[in-house]
Symmetry: C2
Subunit: 341 residues, 2 copies
DNA sequence: TTGAAAGCGGTACCAA
DNA sequence: TTGGTACCGCTTTCAA
């Protein structure tokens, strides 16, 4: 069927070994022979069979990316960034979505492990690191993105989430909010860290941290819109009610804004809202949403670059590296109140 | 390193052939042996090396998906739908994004072909089918999604685009619009077909088809927001200006709405707008956007199912099959005018 | 500088 | 029912 090295070798009257070496620029092949080989490769549009190469070398030239939800722009941007880097090096990306289901994630990872991927890049939907330990046992290269586990040292690429929390909360305070609520998930590291940053910001401005103003939910990050809507409704029943809300991601913020709008209150005059993630359409929403940008594509790029340094042996799994992106505040109308400071 | 069939065979005092057969439920292995083998496989958490299997069988158990833009929800939903189907059958999906660049697409496809994927699912960014002919030459299984080429018979899964054009235009007419413009790309099949549906609808309602009301651009579908914004601005300078606009996709509609808003006109009272694709956030936009839904996930699912019937030999490349989804109108505020009929 | 041989981990064929 | 052998296409080692 397809052209093989053997065909090239026969055509040229050399051995397959020579072809193999010439193709990969080994320096023990004469320039003349190499030229002839490369020439013939071009003519026949020969491409090495990667399954065979993989079997022989033990490398698959594939990387895996598992994300909780490919439709959420955060993760598709990560995928985009990673693709761009891999493409240049002749690697391909197997992408799987866990749909935020821990069991499905394990299943997808098993599938991938059967293919002996060179690196596994995972934004994990697990609640704990247990199922990830087999990467360590089997000495597989693992890179976590977005979410990490405190008791599980591994390479990690993400954003400085505490800084996000501080930044968003500082912004609300600066815009005159004093009763600042927080809505989001609770079981994943970005949520926990952002919450911590939120508290930190309140405290350092001398504002009280009120438990009733913090609405976190297990799994609150999926279906963020529903979480945001319901949580906001409960917050609106409080007295005094919040005059600013920090939502741990943009879908949550969209849900919260919907609840505020339906209650007849105005954004940002009555309640200011800020999200996180800076989805591409944030500026086109009913009220353009202030958000904290995470440079998702760079997260993907950096994860892919780190992946290569693992493949090339420049980094080892023994010394996990952490790469944090700097978040960036993107103020829009949803927090556009006159400062009262 | 990893467990192999040989390990299992040695442990059990049988041959690798027996293990191989037992694992794949060949019926010439005694129940007793099979049970022992499966037992041991479980114990050792053995997984067959897919590169080796691929080399031996000539199949890769991989499918490829190439889309122009993974961040656009349409394509990520297609990917999601396809994943769901493949997962169940032990297949994995290699996903690549062409970034709407024909050359990059060719490069990505070459990469994939080196891996001998079992099926290639492509939403092509090519302007013509030339570069796709090698699939035919090399007898590779190809399925086009979303975009097709009139002179190139191939399996195709998409939406009834003419119907979309009719449906959207009918809706505008029904809502009282009489000066209906159309904005979008021009070089890809969905754009052309939707435009045809648009014209058809106008004609069958006795309305004139005005060339100055049709603004199509080469490559207008990428950066649809820019296309929509600029095209709408040019339409606004016309006299009489349109009182309704059919945008060939949602990003274009968002750009158009922005232009209308900036000009001080109201949506939908002065100009009604309808898009296509029904992005998940359509209802959360400044003016909730009416759109035509394409059931993107089902496109992905159907493409994957068709892929399997190709792998299993139930369909051949010689008799291309076309699967068209029925579009569905989703009216929202952007066309919410009182009917004048 | 070149190439013969062995092996990567499976599967298919056919004989035992 | 079981297994020996050849082979898939490539890389590595080592001898020529």
């Amino acid at each position: 069927m397809a052209v093989t090295m053997k065909d090239i070798a026969n055509d040229l009257g050399v051995s397959v070994v020579t072809v193999s070496k010439a193709m990969r620029n080994h320096n023990d092949i004469s320039l003349k022979t190499r030229t002839r080989v490369l020439q013939r490769i071009k003519e026949l549009d020969y491409r090495p069979n990667l399954a065979a190469r993989s079997l022989a070398t033990g490398k698959s030239y594939l990387m895996g990316l598992v994300v909780p939800d490919l439709v959420y722009p955060f993760f598709s941007l990560v995928a985009k960034g990673a693709s761009r880097v891999l493409r240049k090096k002749g690697y391909s990306l197997i992408i799987a979505s866990s749909e935020e289901d821990p069991d499905l994630e394990i299943q997808e990872l098993s599938q991938m492990m059967a293919r002996n991927l060179d690196v596994y890049i995972v934004a994990s939907a697990q609640t704990g690191p247990e199922s990830l330990r087999r990467f360590v046992e089997q000495k597989k290269s693992l890179i976590l993105v977005d979410r990490r586990f405190s008791s599980f040292p591994a390479h990690y690429v993400g954003t400085d989430d505490k800084e996000i929390g501080r930044m968003a909360t500082d912004h609300l305070i600066e815009r005159g909010c004093r009763q600042i609520a927080c809505i989001g998930g609770r079981d994943v590291s970005p949520a926990m860290d952002r919450l911590e940053g939120y508290k930190h910001a309140l405290i350092s401005h001398g504002l009280p941290v009120l438990e009733q103003f913090i609405v976190t939910r297990v799994n609150g990050d999926n279906h963020g819109d529903v979480t945001g809507f319901e949580a906001m409704n409960s917050l609106l029943r409080l007295s005094p009610r919040p005059d600013g809300v920090f939502c741990l991601n943009d879908p949550t913020a969209m849900g919260a804004m919907k609840a505020i709008a339906e209650s007849g209150l105005r954004i940002p005059q009555d309640i200011a809202v800020i999200g996180c993630g800076n989805v591409p359409y944030a500026s086109e929403l009913r009220v353009p949403l202030s958000s904290v940008d995470q440079d998702c594509e760079m997260i993907g790029e950096n994860a892919a670059k780190l992946a290569f340094s693992l493949v090339e042996g420049k980094q080892s799994m023994a010394f996990p590296k952490t790469i944090l992106m700097k978040p960036k505040l993107i103020p829009r109308n949803s927090t556009n109140r006159i400062s009262q400071e």
